[in-house]
Amino acid sequence: MTRYVMVADLRRCVGCQTCTAACKHANATPPGVQWRQVLDMETGTYPQVQRTFVPVGCMHCADPPCEDVCPSTATKIRPDGIVEIDYDLCIGCGYCAVACPYQARHIVHKRDLAYGKEAMANEDKRFDEGRMSVAMKCNFCQGRIDKAKETGQTPGIDPEVTPACVNSCLADALHFGDKEDPDSNVNKLLAENQTFRMHEDLGTDPGFYYIWDKNK
């Protein structure tokens, strides 16, 4: 069995948004749509304040609410844990976007361009009509992950088969790998550090872990 998960080390993340930008490149998301982004969060009251940068996106839950509400079965969990959307089946009803506790889903009904009037060559090149009026979200760069089966490479270790956000991370804050493999990079990180998952109490069993020093 395989379950791919993401691990974000909040002690290392600096909120630079390089992962956000790299994701936009890798997945050609339209303006305003970010499958990966980093939140800038503040807690406490002056002068006892803490500011934290928190990468978010689809949590690839093992029990995802988006799947439960999907009337067309477009949203499915793959055997490797990746929550995917079949754009051919999706009817763009938006139930999943409402159901997702992580606000990870986006639906775009009309083509939006970076500079408003005129499409740039890269926008034309990568425009995909099939992604209009359907739900979109982070898919852990599943095309890369699938390539690993052909090449024998290891997702999370070999850049060619690793999500773009992880590859781009300047601080080595983002990690990706197979949680079911006891020797994997992510299992090592989870074993050695204190971690939490977002909204764990909702019972969605997210596949996105955060490393954090509870004492800080």
Partner: protein, 906 residues
């Protein structure tokens, strides 16, 4: 059939570069930027590129790009004048510029005032050099050029650090030895936003291994967020905090906790100070003296086999040499060491005293002093490449507004001195310089070290003696006349008081020559019309320039006044080979050195041209093609084309294509890096991206070179600066110049605390304001996403930047805002005594209640996209003034303002 390939590139949009990347090209269209992991083993940033590099695809395809040369049709210039740009051919554009250049050469390269008729301004801390191909060869071939019209430096750069850093430890900029440091005191330093890929990864690794960083600044920056502790200090009071630390170290701790051998043997601490404030010198050799405890006598500093006294009072005879060679012969007088003077000076600066000024509890200052010294591991050593060096894993770094403007001298001095007290200057784990720009040669910091007469490093101070002082400035900002520390390297003009070139254009101060407009001004990758202080005034001065040639990517506020726009190929469309490795700005510390290539990933869009081809055409038009080619042969393009065993020099009478020039450059670089064994050309680099060779990490540290040359760090006592200041005062007063008198007071041998916030408060009062009406300190802070490179006009970069709370807004303390009835998103006016700017409010807890913060410089009114996304800009409201200029010619991004909620605004 569809094609897909990945092309190796570098990004050098900011001084923290270069970053490495590949850009994917699918069917001739660039689609995706990715890290270049093939270079991960040699690049300290593991082959990754910062967020800004991901904007370069949009930059290339930006529909607002200028794709053909343009000429102005409206002779009137000004913000409200439509330039009436019309498209023209390259032949016409180059012909028009050529005509102007030939006219200037016929008249003479300097005007009737002695100023160069051609001026040029480039932005980004020298980074445009990495994009302008062989244009430096054109500039070199031309002759005198005035680089002194600033585009933000002085007020936007770490200005005092540049000058004092180079004086004391060859540190044009200064950094922590982060991979080894365990305790970093950061006074407004912002490595997480400013030090790029290399800085971010180094500091993340340091945090991982438990290093502690204390961030001392009025607002909680990205760096404070990633630090162990945030100390919200009152703005511009950082020297008081440092002096409080030094009081604790010098008056409350046992002396043995300091690095006494380092102070005694590697600094000027034991030098004896005579009654008039100058060193006590040997009457015959004029060398400074110290007290030798072995002999029980004063001896010159370079006497063999001595044991100098670090502190104490001694009866000594000797010669004291003051300004303009004034001499005093002393017989059997009581003198003390420089260190003893320091100890006395610091006695008054208790933590309790500092608390009143900084609004930081005295206990916090005492604790930090103790932590700093405890982490210094005084006495420990480490082996680096076979050499045993001191290990002092504590460092101090400074940020903008701390290390520039009034108080910058005191902060740089305090920073360097804190390091010296525990022996943590230029040793592993300590505080390090990065590179040199004023001292020469600039190949390495070590190469620039040469002995001076007093046992310190020689520094190329602009002369202040009667015979050699530059009475009439050669550059319009007067750096050679007013700022001895700015030296006379190719960078010096840009490191003087660059705002004076603008200010004095309008009205020269008393007994100062008229400052003429240049006959021709070249502008590239800079936008002073929005990036300086008092941008309205700068814009008005630009509009007075008779002929402006802008190498332009898009229309902007500065080229709004241009006569000719020349569209150059952008980052991914042109060719350039640059040197990489060694040690450079920010935190670029490499274990390799070599060269890297930027290359066309696609055919240039429209009529845009490779900058090298533009430079060659301009050289031909100016009639200096042979000199231009000769300059390229000598290395003005980055690599000399001839070495001991190779010769790829170009024929000097031929107009060479860019590819031919860069092929020769590539071949010569290959030969240089392999001692002549390889001569791979451009095609090899297009495939491989870069070539490097390993170097010793010892070059990160200056201490071994200082030890080798038996030199001391010029700390703590600034006898040289004291003399230079007196002499400069004499010269200026002889000329009837009294308006630099406040600046002359900065030349203190041991700088005392001054009321630095009071200088800005007084400026508010002097300009007609009542302080109670301007209760806030307005500051700025680096946006990693938007800084440099016109990134606010790149939609994708602007989009991701907005994920950071407060971008394109005014950040304010939430509690203070509640008291004023201001809520998140409210539209407010931010007003100084100069003028006002408007913006939306972002509320935070992580900012002092008396402080507000605006990130970036966004008052665009021409730049496409940016002008339609309004944001407040502090540049609009910060006055440009002599009173706010310190002795190094810099000021700081700080001003007192009022904040008013605009009625009726949603």
């Amino acid at each position: 059939m569809s094609t897909s390939k990945k092309i190796a590139q570098y990004c050098y949009q900011c001084v923290a570069g270069p970053d490495f990347l590949t850009v994917k090209v699918e069917d001739g269209v660039m689609t995706e930027v990715e890290p270049n992991f093939a270079l991960a083993d040699v690049h300290p940033g593991a082959g990754r590129a910062c967020v800004k590099a991901y904007g370069l695809v949009q930059k290339t395809y930006n529909p607002n790009r200028l794709l053909t040369p343009m000429k102005r049709t409206n002779p009137k210039k000004g913000r409200d004048e439509d330039p009436g740009f019309v498209a023209i051919s390259w032949d016409e554009a180059l012909g028009l510029v050529g005509e102007k250049m030939r006219e200037i050469r016929a008249k003479g390269l300097r005007d009737e005032h002695g100023y160069a008729r051609v001026a040029a301004s480039f932005g980004g801390g020298g980074t445009p050099t990495y994009y302008m191909g062989t244009f430096p060869a054109f500039l070199g071939a031309w002759g005198p050029i005035d680089f002194s019209f600033g585009s933000g430096q002085g007020v936007k750069c770490t200005h005092s650090e540049h000058l004092y850093g180079e004086l004391w430890h060859r540190g044009f900029t200064v950094a922590a030895d982060t991979p080894t440091s365990n305790y970093i005191l950061s006074f407004g330093g912002n490595p997480e936003a400013s030090h790029g890929v290399m800085g971010i990864s180094r500091h993340a690794d340091a945090r991982d291994r438990g290093a502690k960083r204390v961030q001392i600044e009025p607002h909680m920056s990205v760096t404070a967020a990633c630090s162990s502790e945030w100390v919200p200090i009152r703005p511009k009071t950082d020297p008081a905090f440092m002096y409080g630390l030094m009081h604790v170290m010098l008056h409350e701790m046992p002396r043995e906790r300091l690095d006494l051998p380092f102070l005694t043997d590697h600094t000027g601490s034991p030098y004896l100070i005579a009654p008039n404030g100058y060193f006590m010198r040997d009457p015959v050799t004029h060398k400074p003296m110290l007290w030798d405890t072995k002999r029980g006598a004063a001896v010159t500093f370079d006497t063999p086999d001595i044991a100098p006294a670090l502190e104490g009072s001694f009866t000594v005879s000797g010669l004291e040499v003051g300004a303009d060679d004034e001499e005093w012969q002393h017989e059997d007088i009581q003198v003390e060491t420089a260190f003893s003077h320091l100890v006395k000076q610091m006695e008054q600066y208790t933590p309790e005293w500092a608390e009143d000024i900084c609004q930081v509890p005295d206990g916090c200052i005492r604790r930090i002093a103790d932590e700093f010294v405890s982490h210094a591991q005084v006495g420990d050593t480490i082996e680096i490449d076979g050499e045993i060096l001191p290990l002092r894993p504590v460092s101090v770094i400074l940020g903008k507004t701390v290390n520039n403007g009034w108080g910058g001298y005191e902060c740089c001095w305090g920073r360097t001195l804190l390091a010296c007290l525990v022996g943590a200057l230029e040793v592993p784990g300590g505080t390090l310089g990065t590179t040199v720009r004023l001292n020469r040669p600039a190949t390495t910091r070590q190469a620039s070290v040469a002995p001076g007469p007093d046992g310190f490093m020689k520094y190329p101070m602009n002369p202040t003696d009667k015979d050699n002082w530059q009475e009439t400035p050669k550059a319009r900002n007067g750096h050679d006349t007013l700022v001895p520390l700015s030296a006379s390297s190719p960078w010096s003009q840009a490191l003087g008081p660059t705002h004076f070139a603008w200010m004095f254009r309008k009205e020269s101060p008393e007994n100062w020559p008229e400052v003429s407009a240049p006959d021709l001004w070249f502008v590239y990758r800079t936008n002073p019309a929005i990036s300086f202080w008092d941008t309205k005034a700068v814009t008005e001065r630009i509009a007075e320039f008779p002929y402006i040639v802008s190498f332009a990517y898009i229309r902007d506020e500065t080229n709004h006044m241009a006569d000719i726009l020349l569209p150059e190929c952008t980052d991914f469309e042109s060719t350039q080979l640059i040197r990489v490795g060694g040690t450079k700005f920010s935190e670029s510390y490499w274990d390799h050195e070599g060269v890297a290539l930027r290359q066309p990933a696609i055919e240039p869009l429209g009529e845009t041209r490779d900058f090298t081809d533009i430079a060659t055409a301009l050289a031909e038009q100016a009639g200096i093609l042979d000199r231009y080619n000769n300059a390229i042969n000598k290395g003005a393009g980055g690599i000399p084309l001839k070495g001991d065993h190779w010769d790829f020099t170009l024929d000097t009478d031929t107009k060479h294509e860019a590819e031919v020039i860069w092929d020769a450059m590539c071949r010569s670089a290959s030969a240089e890096l392999t001692d002549g064994e390889e001569t791979d050309g451009l095609d090899w680099y297009k495939e491989n991206g870069m070539r490097t060779r390993p170097i010793s990490r010892l070059i990160w540290y200056l201490f071994p070179e200082m030890k080798k040359q038996k030199l001391r760090f010029e700390m703590p006592y600034q006898e040289q600066l004291y003399r230079v200041g007196k002499q400069l005062g004499n010269r200026l007063h002889e000329k009837g110049i009294e308006w630099w008198n406040e600046q002359l007071k900065e030349y203190e041998p041991l700088p005392p605390w001054k009321d630095f916030p009071g200088i800005w408060e007084q400026a508010t009062v002097n300009s007609g304001g009542d302080l109670k009406d301007y209760p806030f300190w307005l500051l700025t802070s680096r946006s990693m996403q938007l800084a440099w490179g016109s990134n606010s006009s790149i939609q994708m970069i602007d989009e991701v930047a907005k994920n950071m709370h407060g971008h394109r807004a005014m950040i304010m303390n939430a509690g203070r805002a509640a008291e004023m009835g201001i809520e998140e998103g409210d539209l407010v006016e931010i007003k100084s005594t100069l003028r006002a700017t408007k913006g939306r409010v972002a509320l935070k807890q992580g900012i002092r209640p008396d402080t507000i913060l605006i990130q970036g410089q966004f008052d665009h009114w021409v730049t496409p996209y940016s002008k339609d996304n309004p944001a407040p800009s502090m540049n609009t409201v910060v006055p440009m003034s002599l009173a706010l200029t310190d002795a190094t010619g810099s000021s700081a991004d700080i001003v007192r303002v009022a904040v008013t909620k605009l009625a009726g605004a949603a």
